[in-house]
Structures are given as structure tokens and as C-alpha cells.
């Protein structure tokens, strides 16, 4: 009798979410019940899920078969290290987000709170099932349920046309991606036609089939993750959704795509080719650069974060691709390093991006504004949100000693060991990629300074901002959980790496636990202390020591006198809030330096305009290069085919007649 307690527990949590959702829809207008009981309960379940998953990562593989699904293909569920890790991510992030959501959803608004509750919890449960699924059908059902519920969550304010458009685009891309995934499963099941993952693992593929399966999976999961040419839905959908949902989508849902791709690449396909890794690497790099550049020029705070998500997914893919390259060149230890960086970054991104999205939610609630150009100075009104957001901003910008830095550090480390690869071009290429990563990290800092500075610092740009209020208690608790997560993940990297060890062992047959455990908890040295080491504890500790010391010394030696005066500003007397940099102004250097990336529409006033107007719209060129032509082609197809249905009965009869004659002649011949 094998131990199935963990997976049963996980299943119970997922079912619990479904039940909570059901209760929500049973009492659609009972606001207090939903916000004070159901959502917090969901958060507790999330925590339970995280704890169970944590035990599941290192534990034995557990499988069960549910009596649901197709008659020949019941739902197979399986818990191993990989799914355990991503479930941990889901549980940990959702605990914070659900707590926040309990305080976030207000009366009124678009969709009834009960319905929100149902959709939200089904969304959570479907993500859990995605990670547990062990056959193609269960996976697809969970996957599409996830897409569907998140679509409805995105469109909960469906009265706005742009939100409808965003939802449409999102579901369409998700659906097209799902088709790719399904095809990939189909290729992997091959002639055996058995869609359990076990059968796919066993099935031997010939020739190009594994590559086709892999490429289809990249397409399918890439659409969900927002990889470069398929990213267009992401900056539309994330801003459209209510903030907890944006947080969930960006923090967790994008990771399900990474999970799926890892499952396919490392688990279901037996062998990997090195250039698969290169493909992922290049796509990831393109997404990261593109994402970060666009993130830096956005004027809508949620769009800014959405593009930043594209960037982070790109970074994750870069690490993933590197892991594939190392593994295919039989360098398992380096593969483990790259993969650890990747997984670590997944976890980090879940925390800091959820945190930031939730902060934008609070800002949105307090001010009703998403446009950066109408915010500012909120640090005085919303200190909690501001300081917690600062943690997220620093983590997102990849600054020590927070968590974002650790994973970027690991990633850069893994790039530094590429010179051992037996492939000339790769040797040359990979350091350049590392250089690009450095650029991306620096640009991310730029974008984050812009985000934080314009929203929270400076003077309020609108009158009404004076009425802004800080987040409520539950919201603060949710934010705090995520911020603490960012700090803890940053300060205790060795514990995280030890936790990731079973996962990398499962995927690339090597792990970093030996290196991580040999130096104690405070020093991170993945290869050896001589080669590279980083100790966030000392780092943070010394800054934390220096600061009060300096403060104390200055006070002690000199004085603490201070008086409030009007701002100096080089003596300029007529300061107004409109003289600060706007979001556009702050992004101007980026627009200028990276102008080939953008499609710009500009209108400059002439010298004689009595009412000068300035207009600058920056758009995604990929929309025009790729999607508009595709829609044109389809439109052309419909126009062509419409000629067939031309209304005349004689013509219709002629079709029947011709069909009959042709078939008769063919059959006879």
C-alpha cells in the first residue's frame, strides 16, 4: 500500500476550492459571507496546498486515478517533484492573493460577488489540476477551464469595449495555444494513441517527431506564457482584469505554461536536442528585451507590469533553454544550476509580480486611476501600500538583497560556465546573451523606478488624489505575506535551493543540494566558494548595520535639526505638480534609444497653433507585422468563399448537381 496522503490532501484542497466557489454562486449577493468567510477560507486552503506541496516535492511519486473523464481515459493524477514545486508556487501565491482579494472585491461593480467567487476559485482549482494532471485529456480539460474562468474574470467589467476586446484576444490566443498543446500531445502519443503521460514517457519516437512535439508545445505553452510573437493578449488582458486576478494570472497562471513546457521537454520526451534549448533561449531573449523596453514606456501602470511579466517569462525561458543546452551536452550539474535559476525565478516572479499587481489594485481602488499621468505622491496617503510596493519594485528590478537578484545572479552564473560547451558558435553566442541579460536587468530597474516614482513619489498630479486612502486590513495582510515572501526568498537562497534539488534531480538528474548545504545557510556558492559566492545575509546585515550606525553617529556627532520649507528647485518659484516628469517624459530616453522597436504615431503642434496639442502613441509593431496580415488573409478567405453562397437557387442546385456528377464519374472511373 503506497502512501497517497499528500496527493489526496492536494485533491481535497482543490475540491475545497470548488466547494467554496459553489457556495459563492449559491449565495451570489451575500457580500459579507463571500468576502469575510469564503475568500479567507480559500486563502487558508492555499496555505494548506503550499504546505502539502512542500512535503510532496521531496516525497515519493504519488498517482491516483479519478473515476471521471473519458471511459477509456479516466483522469490520471500524479504528484512528483515538478508538480509539487509549481503547486507550492500556486499555494503560496494564492494564499496572499486570496487574502487580499477578500478585502478587494467591493459591492456593486460589474459581476456579482458570488460569481466572482465561483470563477476565482474554479480558476485556482483548475490550475491545481493542471499541475496534477497525468494524462492528455485531464490536462486539456483543466487547462482550458483555467483559460475560460480567467477569461470571465478578465471580462468582469465587460461594459468597457476595450476590456471586451482584451478578453476576446486573450481567449482566442489561449484557445489557439491549446490547440498546439493538444497536437503536441497527439504527436507524443504517436501511433500508440494512448494519452496517459506514462504511455508518452514510454513511447519511442522516431526521427523528427520529438522535435515536432517540442515545437508544438513551445507554440502552445508559449501562447499562454506570452512569448514574443504570441504575447499580444498579455498587455491587454492583465490591465483589464481586477487586480487580484491580474496578480493571479501574471504570478501563477503564466507559470503553468512554464510547468507544461518543462513537463513536456524534460519528462515526456526522453531526449533533448541542444538546439531546442537555443530556440527557447532566443525566444526568451527576444521576449525579455521586448518586454522590458515596452514596459519602460508604458503610461498605464498595469500595462507596465504586464510587459514586465513578458520580460520575466523571457528570462525564465532563457534559463530553461540554457538548461536544455547543458543537459543535451551531458553537463548535468550546470543544467541543474540553470534550471535552479529558472525555477527560482518562477517562484520569485510569482511573489513580486503578484505583490506589485495587488499594489496597483489598491491604488486603483483608492484613486480610480490606472494612468500614471494622473497619479503621484501617494506615499503620503498610502504608506503601507507604498512601502510594500517598494519591496516588490526592488525585487522586480533584480536588486540585492531581495529575491529577484538571487535568481538573476544564479542565471548569470550559469552563463559564465558556457565556455565548457563543445560547440563554437554557442560559446560565442552565450556570453552575448549574458550581456543582453545584463541590459535587461538594468532596463527593468529603469521601468521599476518609473513605476514607483511616478505612482508613489512626487506631488499628486490630480486634485482628487488627496482623498486617496490606504489599503484595508485584509489587503495589507495579503500584501505583507507576499512582501515577506520576497524578502525571505532573497535572504534564504540555500533553503530554496535545497528544496529545488529533488525537482532538478527529476528533470536533469543532478542537483545543487551538496553545494548549497556545504556552506551553511548564509552563503550561496553553487559551484565552489572560489568561483562565485553571494551571501544575502551578510549583505543585508551589513547594510542594516551601517544605516543605523551612520544615523546614530551623525546625530550624536552633530545634531538632528530640521525645518520644513518650500522646495528649492534651483530657485524656480512657480512649482506645480504638472512640472514633474510624466510617465511619457520618463520613458522618453527609451523611446529615443530603442526607436526601431516601436511603431509610433506622433502629432506635433506647429509654431502657430493657438491651442497646441501634442500626441504620441507608441504601439506594438508585431501587431502590424504579424497579426494584421493574418486577419487580412482570413478575411480574404471569407470574402472568397462568400462568392459560393450567392443566393440563387439555380446555383445551389448546380452545386448539388455537379457534386453528384463528379462523384458518379469518379466512382465509375
Amino acid at each position: 500500500m503506497r502512501d497517497l496522503s499528500t496527493i489526496n490532501g492536494l485533491l481535497a484542497v482543490a475540491t475545497g476550492w470548488l466547494i467554496i466557489g459553489g457556495l459563492g454562486i449559491l449565495f451570489p449577493r451575500r457580500f459579507t459571507l463571500i468576502s469575510r468567510v469564503l475568500f479567507p477560507l480559500g486563502a487558508v486552503l492555499g496555505l494548506a496546498l503550499a504546505c502539502l506541496a512542500l512535503t510532496g516535492i521531496a516525497g515519493e511519486v504519488q498517482t491516483i486515478i479519478l473515476p471521471l473523464g473519458l471511459p477509456d481515459l479516466p483522469f490520471h493524477l500524479r504528484l512528483d517533484g515538478l508538480s509539487g514545486f509549481f503547486l507550492l508556487l500556486l499555494g503560496a501565491a494564492s494564499a496572499g492573493i486570496s487574502t487580499y482579494a477578500a478585502g478587494y472585491f467591493r459591492k456593486g461593480g460589474g459581476t456579482a460577488p458570488g460569481l466572482q467567487c465561483l470563477l476565482y476559485h474554479v480558476f485556482l482549482a483548475s490550475m491545481a489540476f493542471v499541475m496534477l494532471a497525468d494524462d492528455g485529456y485531464a490536462f486539456m480539460v483543466a487547462w482550458e477551464t483555467m483559460a475560460l474562468t480567467s477569461f470571465f474574470l478578465v471580462t468582469s467589467e465587460h461594459r468597457h469595449a476595450e476590456i471586451r476586446r482584451a478578453g476576446y484576444l486573450y481567449l482566442l490566443v489561449a484557445h489557439v495555444g491549446a490547440v498546439g498543446i493538444l497536437l503536441s500531445f497527439g504527436v507524443m502519443a504517436g501511433s500508440a494513441g494512448d494519452y496517459t503521460f506514462d504511455a508518452m514517457r514510454e513511447f519511442f519516437h522516431h526521427g523528427a517527431w520529438p522535435t515536432i512535439a517540442f515545437l508544438l508545445a513551445v507554440f502552445g505553452f508559449g501562447a499562454k506564457a506570452g512569448v514574443l510573437p504570441l504575447h499580444i493578449w498579455l498587455p491587454e488582458a492583465h490591465p483589464a482584469a481586477p487586480s487580484p486576478v491580474s496578480a493571479m494570472m501574471s504570478g501563477v497562471m503564466l507559470k503553468t505554461a512554464i510547468y507544461g513546457l518543462m513537463r513536456v521537454t524534460f519528462d515526456l520526451l526522453q531526449a533533448q536536442l541542444w538546439w531546442w534549448g537555443l530556440i527557447l533561449l532566443l525566444f526568451g531573449l527576444a521576449s525579455a528585451i521586448f518586454g522590458v523596453i515596452f514596459s519602460a514606456i508604458q503610461t498605464d501602470m498595469k500595462r507596465l507590469l504586464a510587459y514586465s511579466s513578458i520580460e520575466n517569462i523571457g528570462l525564465i525561458l532563457v534559463g530553461f533553454g540554457l538548461a536544455i543546452i547543458f543537459k543535451s551536452f551531458l553537463l548535468p550539474h550546470l543544467a541543474a544550476l540553470a534550471l535552479t535559476a529558472t525555477l527560482y525565478h518562477c517562484l520569485n516572479h510569482a511573489f513580486f509580480k503578484s505583490l506589485l499587481f495587488l499594489c496597483t489594485g489598491s491604488v486603483l481602488h483608492a484613486t480610480g486611476e490606472r494612468n500614471l499621468g494622473k497619479l503621484g505622491g501617494l506615499i503620503h496617503r498610502m504608506p503601507w501600500v507604498t512601502w510594500l510596493a517598494l519591496a516588490g519594485v526592488l525585487a522586480s528590478a533584480g536588486l540585492p538583497p531581495l529575491n529577484g537578484f538571487v535568481s538573476e545572479w544564479l542565471l548569470l552564473q550559469s552563463f559564465l560556465f558556457t565556455s565548457g560547451l563543445p560547440h563554437g558558435y554557442l560559446n560565442m553566442l552565450l556570453p552575448v546573451v549574458a550581456a543582453a541579460l545584463a541590459l535587461i536587468a538594468a532596463l527593468a530597474g529603469f521601468a521599476m523606478v518609473k513605476f514607483f516614482g511616478v505612482v508613489f513619489l512626487g506631488q499628486p498630479r490630480e486634485e482628487k488624489l488627496a482623498a486617496a486612502h490606504d489599503a484595508g486590513r485584509l489587503e495589507r495582510l495579503g500584501l505583507l505575506w507576499l512582501a515577506v515572501g520576497c524578502v525571505a526568498l532573497g535572504l534564504l537562497p540555500n533553503l530554496v535551493i535545497m528544496m529545488l534539488d529533488p525537482v532538478t534531480r527529476l528533470l536533469v538528474h543532478s542537483g545543487l543540494s551538496a553545494a548549497a548545504s556545504s556552506h551553511g545557510w548564509w552563503l550561496l556558492a553553487p559551484i565552489s566558494e572560489d568561483r562565485a559566492s553571494y551571501s544575502p545575509a551578510i549583505f543585508f546585515g551589513s547594510i542594516a548595520l551601517f544605516m543605523p550606525l551612520v544615523f546614530w553617529l551623525v546625530r550624536r556627532r552633530y545634531h538632528g535639526r530640521m525645518s520644513r520649507v518650500p522646495a528649492w528647485d534651483c530657485g524656480f518659484p512657480l512649482q506645480t505638480s504638472r512640472m514633474q516628469d510624466t510617465a511619457e517624459g520618463f520613458g522618453q530616453p527609451i523611446r529615443r534609444v530603442f526607436s526601431p522597436f516601436f511603431k509610433r504615431t506622433r502629432e506635433h503642434p506647429s509654431a502657430f497653433d493657438t491651442q497646441p496639442r501634442y500626441l504620441s502613441i507608441v504601439e506594438d509593431p508585431i501587431w502590424y507585422w504579424l497579426y494584421v496580415p493574418i486577419t487580412r488573409i482570413v478575411e480574404f478567405g471569407t470574402r472568397l468563399i462568400a462568392f459560393l453562397q450567392e443566393g440563387r437557387i439555380a446555383v445551389y442546385l448546380l452545386y448539388s448537381f455537379a457534386t453528384l456528377i463528379i462523384l458518379l464519374v469518379l466512382t465509375r472511373g
Binding site: 548569470l412 530597474g445 523606478v449 562565485a532 549583505f539 528649492w568 516628469d581 517624459g585
Partner: protein, 317 residues
């Protein structure tokens, strides 16, 4: 050994804190000489700092806690940075705590806080300065990282101590890649330390200032800390340059004589470095802000080129 490391570390930190303003003073002095001006005293920076520390702080009405905390954070970061860079010895307590990448991260942390502080009061110059600072930063940071990467590829390590040891104490070898990265490093340092041709630390001319625009609202002890942090930054960068490209003379093991010698050599190198900086500043003119990408892009390309050169020519070593 631990005692030695602690001692060396403390010594290095104190030397940095004390010498940094003097380095700035030295640069200013040299520059004045070269420009045929009468030079300020070498210790002028100390006087300025002391005066600032004694003055009252005048805080804008809108300034927040972040604004007041930023000088301390920036100062701590720079102090830590100068403690990390192995100038006198490679046996330091902090050396395993942060490698080259973490050092870059540390600089970035300081930069972000100073930029945020610049935006905090909400004046036109403050946000202008922050924007430009971040702009210069995102161009300079990758170039700096690439410089480090070349060095780490040579020494198979990103740990600064190991890099310096490798470069200083192994048998003499000519690394052409280091020439490229040396130039790149110099360009990055000029940009990062708000020097001509990117910025001019002595000007308050509205349209051209970068660093000064950000700290326009600071006064009293806050300004003093920031100025001191700037000095520390210049000092740290200079030491970095010395450590990476002219590392000879760094003390390796516990040896008071070596340490003393190292200190002496360091002062000499710094003096030379400061003179060079003044020379460059005198010889070149300040660029328009949007020429900066070209300047720093060149630095970035040189750094990448250095890495490729290393991979091509020196791969066997």
C-alpha cells in the same frame, strides 16, 4: 586568518572612508591646475562635508520618509561597496558575501534609491535628474557587468578576490581582452561618477546637469552624506579599476609589511588615477545627453568585444 581578514577589512573600510574625500579633492586640485585656475586645498572636501554636517536640514514640504532615508541607504551601500573591493588585501571578511555581480547590484541599489529620492519632492529638476540618472545607469550597468565577465572568464570566477588574486599573483601574461575591457571600464566609470563628458559635477546649469539635479533638494547632513557617498563611489570605482587592471602589490596573506606596502602603492596609484581623470575631464567637452547612448554603447560593445576576444584568443588559458 579570520582575525587578519577582519583587520584587513576594517582597515580597508576606514582607509576608504578617510581617503575618498581626499581623492575627490585631489582630482579637483589637478583639474584646477590644468585649467590654469588657482586650486582649492586638497582637504577642501573635508571642510565642505564638515560644514554641511553642521548646518540645519531644510526639508521640502512634500518630502517623505524615503527622501530622508535615502542618504543613509546610499551612504551605506557605497561604504559596503568600497569594503568589498579588494584594494589592500584579498583576504577580506566581506569577499565571499558579494562577488562582482553583487557589486554591480549594490551600485544599482544605490542608484535606484538616489533616483527615487530625486523624484520624491516632485520638482521639475528632480525628476529630470532621476530620469537621466536611470538612463545613464541602464546603459552603464551592463557594460560594467561585461567588464567583470571578461575578468571572470579569465580567472574562472566572479569572486572579486579570486579575480584579483589570479590577475595579480599568477605568472605574468598579457591579456588583450583586458585592454578592451579596460577602456570600457574607464568610460563606464566616467559616466557612473557623473564626470565630463557625460555629466559635469561642478555645474548647476539646468539643462545639462544629471547627478546634481537629483540632489538639488538635499541640504545639511543629508547632502553631506550624499556627497561623501559620491566620493566613496569614485574611490570604489578607482579601486576597482586598479584591482582589475593594475592589481600588482595587493597583499595576499597576513603580512603587516605587505599591507603597509599595499597601502602605499594604493595611494600612489590613486594619485595617478586621479590625475588621469582630471586630464580626461580637462581634455574633453561635455556631451549632449543624447550622445550618451553612443558613448556608453561604445563602452558596452568594447566590453562584449573584450569577452569575445578572450574566447577567441585566450580560450586555452
Amino acid at each position: 586568518m579570520n582575525f587578519y581578514a577582519l583587520f584587513a577589512q576594517l582597515l580597508e573600510l576606514i582607509v576608504a572612508l578617510i581617503l575618498a574625500p581626499m581623492l575627490t579633492g585631489w582630482v579637483n586640485q589637478c583639474r584646477a591646475w590644468m585649467q590654469n585656475r588657482s586650486a582649492p586645498p586638497l582637504l577642501q572636501t573635508y571642510y565642505t562635508l564638515s560644514k554641511l554636517f553642521h548646518k540645519d536640514v531644510l526639508l521640502a514640504h512634500n518630502a517623505s520618509t524615503l527622501f530622508r532615508a535615502a542618504p543613509y541607504i546610499v551612504f551605506s551601500c557605497m561604504a559596503l561597496a568600497s569594503a568589498i573591493v579588494p584594494t589592500l588585501s584579498t583576504e577580506l571578511i566581506f569577499s565571499p558575501a558579494a562577488d562582482a555581480i553583487a557589486l554591480v547590484g549594490l551600485f544599482a541599489l544605490a542608484r535606484i534609491f538616489i533616483s527615487l529620492a530625486g523624484m520624491d519632492v516632485g520638482t521639475s529638476f528632480g525628476s529630470l535628474g532621476s530620469r537621466r540618472e536611470m538612463f545613464i545607469g541602464f546603459l552603464a550597468e551592463p557594460a560594467l557587468l561585461m567588464v567583470f565577465f571578461t575578468a571572470s572568464l579569465i580567472s574562472h570566477s566572479t569572486s572579486l578576490a579570486t579575480i584579483v588574486e589570479t590577475l595579480a599573483h599568477k605568472e605574468f601574461a598579457i591579456y588583450p581582452s583586458l585592454a578592451f575591457s579596460g577602456i570600457a571600464f574607464m568610460m563606464v566609470s566616467l559616466a557612473e561618477n557623473a564626470r565630463v563628458p557625460i555629466d559635469n559635477p561642478t555645474t548647476h546649469l539646468e539643462l545639462t546637469m544629471i547627478h546634481e539635479a537629483m540632489i538639488l533638494e538635499y541640504s545639511g547632513r543629508h547632502l553631506a552624506l550624499i556627497e561623501w557617498a559620491s566620493c566613496l563611489k569614485l574611490f570604489a570605482y578607482s579601486c576597482l579599476g586598479i584591482a582589475l587592471f593594475f592589481p600588482f602589490g595587493v597583499a595576499q596573506a597576513f603580512d603587516p609589511i605587505a599591507l603597509t606596502l599595499a597601502s602605499a602603492i594604493l595611494v600612489a596609484k590613486l594619485a595617478l588615477g586621479g590625475f588621469t581623470l582630471a586630464l580626461i575631464e580637462t581634455l574633453s567637452a561635455k556631451m549632449r545627453v543624447f550622445r550618451a547612448p553612443e558613448f556608453l554603447g561604445t563602452a558596452f560593445l568594447l566590453a562584449v568585444l573584450a569577452m569575445l576576444v578572450h574566447l577567441l584568443l585566450e580560450a586555452g588559458r
